[in-house]
Symmetry: C2
Subunit: 154 residues, 2 copies
Amino acid sequence: MVYERENLKHDSVGAWAKRLYFASRAVMDSILRPYELGSTQWYVLYRLANEGPTMQRDLVRMLQIERATLSGIVATLVRKGLVDQTPDSVDQRQRMLRITRSGKKLWKELPDPIDLILTTAFDGADPAELAIARRVLQTATQRLNNHILEGNQA
Amino acid sequence: MVYERENLKHDSVGAWAKRLYFASRAVMDSILRPYELGSTQWYVLYRLANEGPTMQRDLVRMLQIERATLSGIVATLVRKGLVDQTPDSVDQRQRMLRITRSGKKLWKELPDPIDLILTTAFDGADPAELAIARRVLQTATQRLNNHILEGNQA
DNA sequence: CCACAGTCGTTCGGTACCTAACAACATATT
DNA sequence: AATATGTTGTTAGGTACCGAACGACTGTGG
């Protein structure tokens, strides 16, 4: 029946994964809004504050976003004076990113939105069920990614 | 240890929910790209093709997006000549949306990306595990949404 | 009947993502 | 050394999301 099929769509694991992602984003955005930071800007600061100076190119791989996307985000952080971007002395194509003094100062004031989200969402949940959910999501993601790869080959 | 905590973050159900969402989006975008349609544009056509004319304001609730967002999407579809937007005769504030002849023609050619995604991602998976995953995601989403509501009250 | 509050759609400015094309630079090949 | 190939970052153009503010309209209380 078409009706059953439709119900399935709206109640599938995939649909709930999307809803959870959007709920998380909403919480994260609301925490970061007072500081005028977007979520990806936060991730970049997070990395630079905790792991030290990083090549922009490595950040692309770590954050799993496109070069073009990161380019704009870095430009914003530089404009705000929170991050410093300089060409690498060895390979002049690459850019070294480094948190500024003023960036460090802001970082100290910032709450950790990820901690809050994980605590709010999953505290007290059954670890066995969490493990199953994780595996289901992981498998599904893998399958979709394989599908994309195959599509590119053909 | 900080290290353990970090691992947790990157391997949490939340992180996998995000990855699954992005993998799904990538598949959906790649299917729809040849037709020059975005995913939300597809949802709007889907609704208008299968359920008939709909008030723009009801679509906001069904698709769970902001009025502002839908406004732009509808404008795009109208510009492409796929959708017709007319003021309601009773309440002149509201807009009635209706698929055009040319929209219907396009719709017939379109594959169903959601079917493909669900099949690729979950076919053959253990229904019991899917049910657990669904429940875990649902509960977490609910908790985060409650947290947002409480935040708004305070 | 008229001012006021609420609803609906739009516009504006901002974030975050994508692809495609490009310039600058680095390295491998001949 | 000169040319071809690959990498890195940027820019341009597009989609999709958000909040805030505004105009047009509706319905209600005084």
